[in-house]
Symmetry: D2
Subunit: 391 residues, 4 copies
């Protein structure tokens, strides 16, 4: 890859238009006005299987064209960047095809549904010499960036403990219907790949490589009712008797972990914690201090320094909304908080700048593979019922 | 005003391009993708005094044209809505001219720098039969809307106490330089009009009309240095010796208030509270419960119900991020928080819908005048050193 | 008064055995084991009007004797210290008699039901040359002591704002029956003297003298039912039809205040804030920092320093449970919190040490009179509806 | 054991006079005035190895006699209850001797330094037919009692997750000197037995039996300097060069756990978490709700109910200070918080009442053995690096 001195727009194709498609679209719309990247994104085409649905999405999300065949789209000459927002079972096919067509690739997490696929994806983008990035957007919450900076600067000293929990509650009720995220074939795994993967990424970003794990997976609700076919199609006919479907993924995942640098930790994810909506929380204890973060209050970072005078030590709640904080100067004055979707804008900005610079952004597919390796080892450990080395 | 059955865009002219101009521009860009109003806004023209600056703003904020003479702009045939984001001393002239030209008017707070001007503005829009709205955007934080709903439903019973504080700290340091917000001629008043006005608006929205006040205004730092002329012009010549300028507004404002419904309260605003960045907080106590809100955690509402079983009573922290909460369904899933600027999107959405429906949105200029009347009475009380009736 | 080099016990007579009597008794029992004062208190006699009740109290609270006539008790040769825990209407008589008999006097707040009585009490103790103290125990919460220390050391710079609220909810329900605290003849005033007096004491302790006030008093529930006579006597006969009695004190008190040092503030007390149980909270903003305290979390102090690096500023929550914090070293290791009653133990300890040293402890009756003066001025201002000078 | 209808005092012998000795002594002093047990404790004799030290403790803590040979003490005819507050390595000898002498036994946690010893202790007390209790005092924090009540009543539905962390920071600094708690021979284990044992007890109390564990133990600081001999003896001679001593216990312990009822969980304890002083926290998620507790705010319980209306759901912070809450009615009015030591008073009260009733209080030595079994299994799992069944 060579830096591209041009200031021409970067033409984007987005594959998928559901939750993540909306979040990525917003990022492409907002990155220009607030971050003024040297090369702005041009929202060229959005692609999905249902022509009518994707056309509706096109209109509401602001794309120029809609399409239904991703194979055509990723080969289009006028596309620079392919953004993969589909369920995990199609990531590999799309990303590899895009890389072979010479496109930069931005892919939702987890990178793939298997470590093998993830490896193939990495090989493909490296062979093609394109930029590649996995969307672990929470790295770019300003508070997380500040945490990273504090750790890198040694302000916390040697890290000893990482405690990551990602808690949600939307599957707590056994009456909540089946959906694709409960289907192993589609989603690869459950809470593990969907949300523990974020906690693993933050652990790797902030503490370092995970070397071994002892993990546990649990499915509390083994089967759920299918939503009535009609509902699925938007019709209003009376539902037939409810068909049950086996849940083939975990509802909850827990693991003890060891880090290469000697730190120890735990990672837990569940969709069964009533009251926790998007509680992606970590606490890190180092020799010289501690930090804590909670995504539900993403504008805040709690920090404790042993270097404060003994009678004045305490966790301080930093409003990470100052102009001097990472990314914040592009938004609003101090105390004017930002939201969930801003983390995607930051991610996309860094991706665009990397493409312009001819560099590989982070987290890249290398991180995606490393993350997948941890996920896979956790599944292995949950089966073997013993510590397993990440490899 | 008659409802306009057309679905043609609403053409907007924005006067002013500073902080509020950026926030309003963002709202016009975002309201379409997320709220799908029947008539979308078309960002026609942005207007400011400096041609070069406004052209830069045009590009970054996404407007079609830039202009430097607001008198021309508000008369343009192709403009439907004039959005006034200038300092308070020009609100009346612009809004009245716009109304006379038959344009709908959206105006930043406070409505004007005097009650007389505010009254003239209201008269003008009413005579013209146009839609008019004052931008007290915090009404439309979902948590504030939920608070309103609880009060309207009687869930808190008769309201007894309102306690509103709007605390910031950006003027705490006496070395912070002079700016237009410290100039009575430009800004009308200091913390009073700038931020206490928001607290007054929330009090009126949630509790009702304020009937009398006992107020106090204080200027802690009586003079501040001018920023070097060169800095003001962006040049790099060495600054001359620093000129001092008298601060002609209040740094802090406090008031006791009585409400028409028998409730009592206090309102305080200051720019001198270290650590409080945008701490627009209120607590309301009713016969049957209490609520508390803090803009720095705008996705949360604290609520206490006397109707809970005695051993289970407690302030609950509601994450106001559910699809069933006001406005939230248009954004993200539960627990995925929104930010400061979203309150403007909600406000603009309701404004556009009101224009489409041929109705007057709230808060309208009627509220702007009522707010101004309270502000004016507070100034009068601060001078007379006694309770004054709001009139 | 001369220091008493003896290490003989200090013989105490306690007048009153209700809520405050229990809290003071506990302090006398606990001060020895934890603080080892040079002269320990000897719990000689407890005095109340009803012989049977006071004898029960004697047994459960650990006093040697009980008595029913305080006039006899305060004259007893073997009494060194008279502790006045009765309703406010009898403070003056008891304290003055005790002083005349040469006893040290410890008195619950407010000092008296009138400024005149408070002045007579001060004159009496000064003439007698005895130690005198008013029980504003919250000064001696370790977190409040730490706040005082920070302010005295200049760590907050010049103080600009004091914001004190003391919120409770036990009178919120109009069905809650009448009691002596609602009777002006007994209690002097309502929320004002009962709890605003604490907030005034903290303001005076931490910020300085209050020079003028604009106050407001409100009675939301003008009459309440008497508890059935039988219930008052503990009998079980059926209650007669409920007699209503006029509430002659305020349910809520609010004031704006000016301090001698140029700071401004507000003080509010109410018994009508559902969910606030004992919410004695203050926030103080100085030129260089801020502090906040809430009695419901009395082991914590929130502190913000402008001197922290800009990107690391935030309110830190100090667990005031370190051995280096005021009083704490006498209790438990860090993080092992103390409770409400410990503030009385600290107060009594300092009282005993002052008596041993022959000094006057603080807050003394001088503070009690000053506090009463503010209370009286607030009542005057509430009537005159204007600012009144404290004098 | 038969109920003892007498109301004679229960004569207590306390073995040990350090931190726990002080906390237990306070409980014996306070239980009478606040709880009025039918049989009050009589603080007969305190016993320790150093005659001078124990005599000082006797005076300050309020015991009638001091002694230096526990073997004599536990055989005294006038002793009813032996309270064991020594390091873990002497628990078994003392408790067994006491039981054989027919005394009721109250013992600090962990019950012993080995499962074998714990079993012998249980056998001894059961054979002797005396009352036995292990001091897991945190069960009797009112908020924990409320949590238990909610779970027992089914208010949380089936429990799915337990997340217990007990974090402290007093060993974080490698320069902190060696002490007996770091010596396996004395203490049995480190953070595991000292504080994880509390978290295990709360898990068993609130969720149920733990059936299998995967655990990890870590020693971050392998050796520490001995405090100078002189310091240990209180002399002031200059210390000699510092001798290092190997730390033979864990600094931190982590485990995944399975419960008999199908719930899963994690338990972690460390003395290396800067800023966490006594952070004994748990969160429990059930099918119908969640609760969270933190010992540093022990007067509060956070509770979330799925049964609340969807738009009003949120974690409520219950101030567990109402008269209707467990134990609270014996202390102060609502909002007047209690402290750490009160949990011991509650524990001792229930112990005294059980002795009076002739019943076995909980947690008994049966619980102590069960707890020890989990601790032992965790140690085994940490070595085998696999899940181990608790047996």
């Amino acid at each position: 890859m060579t830096p591209n001195s041009s200031t021409s727009p970067i033409n984007v194709a987005l594959i998928g238009y559901a939750f993540m498609g909306r979040a990525h679209s917003n990022a492409y719309r907002q990155v220009g006005p607030f971050f003024a990247p040297r090369r702005v994104p041009r929202m060229k085409v959005i692609c999905g299987r249902s022509g009518a649905d994707v056309e509706r999405a096109r209109k509401s999300l602001g794309w120029e064209e809609s399409a239904t065949d991703w194979r055509d789209v990723v080969r289009r000459k006028d596309i620079d960047l392919v953004d993969v927002c589909t369920p995990g079972d199609s990531h590999a096919d799309i990303a590899i095809a895009a890389a072979r067509a010479g496109k930069h690739v931005f892919c939702e997490k987890p990178l793939a549904n298997s470590l093998k696929d993830a490896g193939r994806m990495l090989a493909a983008v490296e062979k093609a010499g394109v930029a590649h990035m996995i969307c672990h957007n929470y790295r770019r919450a300003p508070a997380v960036m500040l945490a990273k900076q504090l750790i890198s600067d040694g302000a916390l000293g040697d890290i000893r403990h990482y405690r990551g929990t990602y808690l949600q509650d939307w599957m707590s009720d056994p009456a909540a219907p089946f959906n694709w995220r409960l289907d192993r074939a589609k989603a690869g795994s459950g809470a593990l790949g969907d949300i523990a993967s974020h906690s693993i990424d933050l652990a790797r970003f902030l503490v370092g490589e995970i070397t071994e794990v002892s993990a546990d997976l649990k499915t509390f609700v083994p089967a759920r009712s299918m939503p009535p076919t009609d509902a699925r199609r938007g019709s209003r006919r009376a539902p037939r008797s409810r068909e049950m479907r086996t849940v083939t993924v975990d509802d909850a995942a827990m693991a003890l972990v060891h880090f290469a640098n000697g730190a120890i930790g735990s990672i837990e994810a569940t969709r069964m914690a009533p009251g926790r909506k998007n509680y992606n929380r970590f606490e890190i204890n180092g020799r010289l201090g501690s930090i804590a973060f909670d995504l539900e209050r993403l504008n805040e970072l709690e920090v404790y320094f042993e270097s404060d005078p003994p009678h004045l030590r305490g966790f301080r709640t930093i409003m990470v909304t100052e102009g001097s904080h990472p990314f914040v100067g592009h938004w609003w004055p101090p105390g004017h908080i930002i939201g969930y979707e801003h983390t995607f804008v930051h991610t996309v900005y860094d991706l665009l700048e990397a493409i312009t610079n001819g560099t590989i952004p982070t987290p890249s597919f290398i991180d995606g593979v490393a993350n997948q390796r941890v996920l896979t080892t956790m599944e292995r450990s949950a089966k073997s019922r013993r510590w397993e080395v990440v490899k």
